[in-house]
């Protein structure tokens, strides 16, 4: 069942982009849109958007990488581990849960390390990869998306992102314990 689902999604993923290009552009042609000119007109903004993101990305990534390099993660994990072990989350997976919203490459490294140490099919291995698979790098998304439209006052975006991440990590721990614990 899972394999069938997986191969269907894989096929959709492979065909999605070529199909979108084909359908969108030929639909435009039928609707008498000057496809080439309009495409170029739209594409022109790509450079500006990308460049506008730079200051936001630098600010966010520098803060996160200082935090990572200092070894503060280990301290935070130690402080939180009595709390999380109450709900059946192994302390080994805590750095994963903390790192996931901060850094994509950092959490990828932690996940790989955990699976090498404890085995990919152990409870810790499954939980770490579920945590990785069930979340996005929240702070990166906030920096890039708001940066693209020069938004400095993010209002409730950060608390919302943190609430979503905490719920996501707890849900991942709960479902993995339920099915594989």
């Amino acid at each position: 069942m899972a394999d069938l689902f997986r191969s269907i999604i894989n096929i959709i993923s492979i065909f999605a982009i070529p199909l979108i290009l084909l359908v969108f552009l030929s639909w435009g042609f039928f609707k008498k849109v000057k496809v080439y000119e309009v495409f170029v007109e739209g594409a022109k903004d790509g450079f500006n958007t990308a460049v506008r993101i730079i200051p936001y990305l630098v600010a966010m990534l520098v803060a996160i990488s200082i935090f990572r390099a200092s070894g503060a993660m280990e301290l935070l994990s130690m402080a939180l581990s009595p709390l999380t072990s109450l709900i059946g989350m192994p302390p080994e997976t805590l750095p994963m849960a903390i790192m996931r919203p901060l850094s994509g490459s950092g959490s990828l490294g932690i996940m790989t390390e955990l699976m090498k140490t404890h085995g990919p099919d152990s409870l810790i291995g499954i939980m770490a990869s579920t945590m990785y698979g069930s979340s996005e790098t929240t702070f990166y998304v906030i920096a890039v998306y708001f940066g693209a439209v020069s938004i400095k006052n993010t209002r409730h975006a950060v608390p919302v992102g943190i609430i979503a991440d905490v719920v996501g990590m707890l849900a991942a721990a709960w479902i993995v314990n339920l099915l594989f614990g």
């Binding site: 958007t49 200092s70 990590m169």
Partner: protein, 333 residues
């Protein structure tokens, strides 16, 4: 909120780095100034005015662990080493960092004057009858402020990386913005959005249901779910630009933007391709086993995020009229 978190990451990071360095200094974690003794196996000798011997430093793991107070490696350490005696008779030793180097020395090398080797002063040298060194006693260069050095390096490196990430977006941004422009002019986005109006009207009540922003958001969420991250980011940024056209306060996030971001950071993916690929690489018997659990986790995160965005957007602290004065709102009084 972002102000506090941003500053805390930096301040906590630097303070913890200082704390760790002070602790290392007090405990002398890196055994600065202590003499390390070991046997050597010389493989190559270059006699001359400057005499150089190259070979392996052979250290039983027990001796290494008790010297540094660590738990590492489970075999005898064969560390590549070079012993140099200058013309004036000054001997020195360098440990060349490589595959065989114990993790602890690799870590120390990150704070050494050269990243590729740990250098040290030779205290004693026992020569065999043939004039080849058999054992050495040496003191390695002092290793200090490892974390502070790491913090500096990380901050400088990532600033460059951030620019590379942004510049790397230019091409795919241009591609998708071009395609979206064609779709917009052809009225295709309107067809797409009409299908999902019942959902989008509830999620984004402030956005007219036939606005191009809705089309871009739907495309972005679909691309995210399929794991097409190359398409998802440009489409998401396009959606943000469209939402910004409806934003009454330039420079301040609108309710619709935050809800849209909540859906995005929830990370709902049908196939968590990266996690599955890593699982397969490290030898999982069933790499795809996490598909179901990941969907459950991401669905919970997404629902929680959307609900939180709807509740928090009503709080007075997120609705201060003067939070970011835009040009038009600044009055003389």
């Amino acid at each position: 909120m972002l102000n506090y978190i941003w500053l805390s990451l930096i301040v906590i990071g630097i303070l913890v780095a200082v704390g760790n360095d002070v602790r290392d200094e007090v405990q002398n974690t890196y055994r600065n100034g202590n003499t390390f003794g070991a046997k050597v196996e010389i493989k190559k000798s270059s006699p001359g005015a400057i005499q150089v011997w190259e070979g392996d430093l052979v250290v039983p793991v027990g001796a290494f662990n008790s010297f540094y107070g660590v738990q590492s490696a489970d075999t005898v350490i064969h560390q590549p080493v070079a012993i140099t005696v200058l013309a004036n008779g000054t001997p020195s030793i360098s440990l060349l960092i490589g595959e065989a180097t114990p993790a602890f020395w690799k870590q120390m090398a990150k704070g050494a004057s050269s990243k590729e080797k740990l250098t040290g002063k030779l205290k004693a040298l026992t020569l065999s009858p043939e004039g080849v060194p058999m054992s050495v006693q040496f003191v390695l260069e002092p290793i200090r402020f490892l974390k502070m050095k790491a913090v500096t390096q990380a901050a400088l490196d990532i600033a460059g990386t951030a620019v590379n990430i942004a510049l790397g977006l230019i091409g795919i941004m241009a591609l998708w913005l071009g395609v979206m422009k064609v779709a917009e002019e052809a009225g295709l986005l309107k067809v797409l959005t009409r299908l999902l109006t019942p959902i989008t009207k509830r999620l984004f009540p402030d956005v007219p249901s036939d606005h191009p922003a809705v089309g871009a958001m739907i495309m972005n969420i679909a691309a995210n779910m399929l794991g097409l991250s190359n398409a998802a980011t440009p489409l998401g940024l396009k959606a943000m630009e469209e939402l910004n056209k409806l934003n009454p306060k330039i420079g301040t996030a609108s309710n619709a933007m935050v809800t849209f971001l909540a859906i995005n950071t929830g990370g709902l993916v049908l196939i968590p391709a990266t996690a599955i690929a890593v699982r397969a690489t490290v030898g999982s018997a069933n790499p795809g086993i996490i598909i179901g659990t990941s969907i459950v986790g991401a669905a919970c995160a997404t629902i929680a995020g959307v609900v939180a965005s709807k509740i928090l957007q009503r709080l007075p602290r997120y609705n201060k009229p003067d939070s970011t004065p835009s040009g038009a709102e600044v009055s003389n009084g």
